[in-house]
Symmetry: C2
């Protein structure tokens, strides 16, 4: 199956289990449709600097006028040069951006002073090609750590954008930022705001087994709605907690993780009142969660997409702790792979998560099937459990018997293929 | 290779890289030698209650007089019934114990009130067979979670000990507590105290991939030295931090983990002054670390035993954080499996560990080979690195460039076999 066909089929599979909020309509998805991807004012180009063999490895998305911007970054203390530079640019440009440049195949991480200069060169070359200021460019990289970028080849490749019309599709852009992803991840929705329609489009890359120790996760979002940078940042941070951060186990773990949004305002629709803000936020959360689920679906060697839903926790924080510990447990994830109704491993993970639990009231369900009932009673049909666990996706719900806190985390199974892929990724 | 042959060969391999402290001499190890295993006053018996197919699953070790006892237990909130009962017995007997009973194949965890009654029955039957009080018996279980013990068959089996002379070897005892372990783990040393010789013997079981999410770890230690219970507890807790707890990633994670020591005093040697206490502690730490390394060596599907040594940290706590995060990273562990010198994954783990680090002074070594030097300089011979990574055991040393804190954690690689073993452990 081609990468694009795989993307279509993943989109269809997730769409079927997505409840689209009111006022939010996904754009049709399929052959030819991806040309309509970008919100007004945005264009994309991709090219190759031969960092990766045989496919584009540099993506530029430009905005034809200054856009409000917001971003969230990895908290890893060994964060990469492009992370430092993008933070700096957001500050110096007062969150007004014109472009995003991203390369795949090399993370420009642990590359010292040389790495910082190379990231600056990426921004400068992009700015020169598009006729904007370097500090209006967000820079991202993903790939191998500790190797210097082939910056001369890259400068030349980026320079070529000055001579061409940028007309890459969403799929093209998503393809160019892939590392070990097996399909491009992109989605666009139209949003019915009080004054008219705005569009929100997003691309993302995962790679690595997202939990417990993801390699770089990148997400880029673009909208032609007009939104004040402070509100945009608030919305992005909140949506990020329930999407990209709900698929990692240790928070922002990689050296290069980044999610950013640019809002051009070119639709003429201004998100200001609380109604429009609510609508826009629900669209943003839905799009980001959709991208996050695509990432898990494409987890290295993954055969299952499982939602870990924790309810009845002391508070949301406790619920997240428990959900993340379960989602990150190698023993739970191998049991998923083996389609084994091993609820003992689930409660062992609950018990060591640090979340408060009333063990006498603890319950576990697979979809709607009660697996563990209060008082550690367990009397389910193995056959029915097997049927659920054989599906490519299902929900495990754990109730902690303490309060009203809840959280969802998405995870995938741990397979032999994961080990195969990662045992020799670098070489 | 038979399980016992495998144990001999593991013992030899680890002995070669163990520096035995002064005053501590390991007992000869090999065919027939294990009969001399027990310190004065201790005897062991094993039997089968058909919990596991085809091999003994119940072990009893008895002391012919009251022994000082100390123990450390899992902190898992969903801890098993035998954990609760053993804690209670230590309290009610004022840390004076006569026996340990342990079954394998069933953890008696998440079994509610029935589980507690069954654990009490195990203690009562053992006490009756040996003619001691139930509260002088430590109870342990390991195996599948959430299934009731076959307590009638077990009572009968334990009752049979009243009619037999307990003459099981250390190997017999270690074999009876195994679950997915591939060889029994046991070691005995003689300790030259100021007044004469005492013996310290230990057995342990691992199973599961010890990191990051171990199944039950059990360790039982026996000595014929006389030691006050408070001092014994202090020594056990301290040695545990550097041994059994230095091979787990999330602390005491399983529902059933337990390490206990009984000191009979039958050698007539009393550990009281600071010299003897120092000698005994070094013996205890060495024996427990040896058992812990045997557990990692036998990690499910493991092909490598790797020491993660963190130095130059802000303090020991930070060093442990960093070492544990590296040791628990699936990406690092798959790279070990692939014998890939992927130091980028190591520093990514350092960066997200929460430990403070001076990234400009951070260094990484494989054995004595410098892999990463200050300022993110990396210029090593891939060939030399490959040679080290191809060995069955090596040390990765990370220097954090901050202070004098240090810690060691032992880990193993993540292999396809691990997934195979765990995908269908329960069934």
């Amino acid at each position: 199956m081609s990468k694009l066909k795989k993307a279509y089929s993943a989109f269809e599979r997730l769409s079927a289990t997505t409840s689209w909020p009111d006022h939010v309509t996904p754009l049709p998805f399929g052959e030819g449709e991806e040309k309509r991807f970008w919100p007004a004012g945005f264009n994309a180009g991709t090219t190759s600097a031969a960092i990766k063999a045989r496919r584009p490895d540099i993506m530029v998305v430009s905005s034809d006028q200054p856009s409000s911007a917001a971003a969230v970054f990895t908290r890893n203390l060994c964060s990469a040069a492009p992370v430092s530079l993008s933070k700096e640019h957001l500050r110096t440009s007062a969150s007004s951006m014109r472009a995003v440049v991203c390369n795949s195949g090399n993370a420009n991480a642990a590359t010292g002073e040389r790495g910082m200069r190379d990231a600056e060169t990426m921004a400068a070359e992009t700015a020169a090609a598009l006729g904007v200021h370097p500090e209006e460019v967000l820079v991202a990289s993903t790939g191998v750590i500790g190797v210097a970028l082939p910056i001369e080849r890259m400068s030349e490749a980026i320079g070529s954008f000055s001579a061409v019309v940028l007309e890459g599709s969403g799929a093209d852009a998503a393809l160019a930022i892939m590392t070990t992803d097996t399909f491009p991840k992109f989605i666009a929705v139209d949003i019915a705001l009080s004054g008219g329609t705005a569009r929100l489009s997003g691309i993302a890359k995962g790679s690595g087994m997202i939990c417990p120790d993801m390699a770089t996760m990148l997400g880029f979002l673009f909208t032609d709605a007009a939104i004040d940078p402070a509100l945009l940042q608030e919305m992005l941070s909140a949506a990020n907690e329930r999407s990209f951060n709900a698929i990692t186990v240790d928070g922002d773990t990689s050296t290069n993780d980044m999610a950013a949004i640019l809002a051009s305002g070119r639709s003429g629709q201004i998100v200001r009142g609380s109604d429009d803000a609510g609508i826009f936020f629900s669209a943003l959360e839905t799009v980001m969660t959709f991208l996050a689920r695509l990432i898990v679906l494409d987890g290295e060697g993954a055969t299952k997409l499982v939602e870990i839903r924790v309810e009845g926790a002391e508070n949301d924080e406790d619920a997240k702790k428990a959900a993340r510990t379960i989602a990150g447990s190698s023993l739970v994830k191998t049991a998923m792979n083996g389609e084994d109704a091993n609820w003992g491993r689930i409660i062992a993970a609950v018990g060591r998560s640090g979340a408060r639990v009333d063990t006498e009231r603890l319950t576990v369900k697979f979809n709607d099937l009660a697996i563990l009932e209060p008082g550690y009673r367990s009397d389910f049909s193995e056959e029915e459990a097997k049927k659920i666990l054989a599906e490519p996706g299902y929900t495990i719900t754990i109730s902690m018997g303490r309060g009203t806190g809840s959280a969802s985390v998405w995870t995938c199974d741990l397979s032999r293929e994961y080990v195969e892929i990662n045992a020799d990724y670098r070489t």
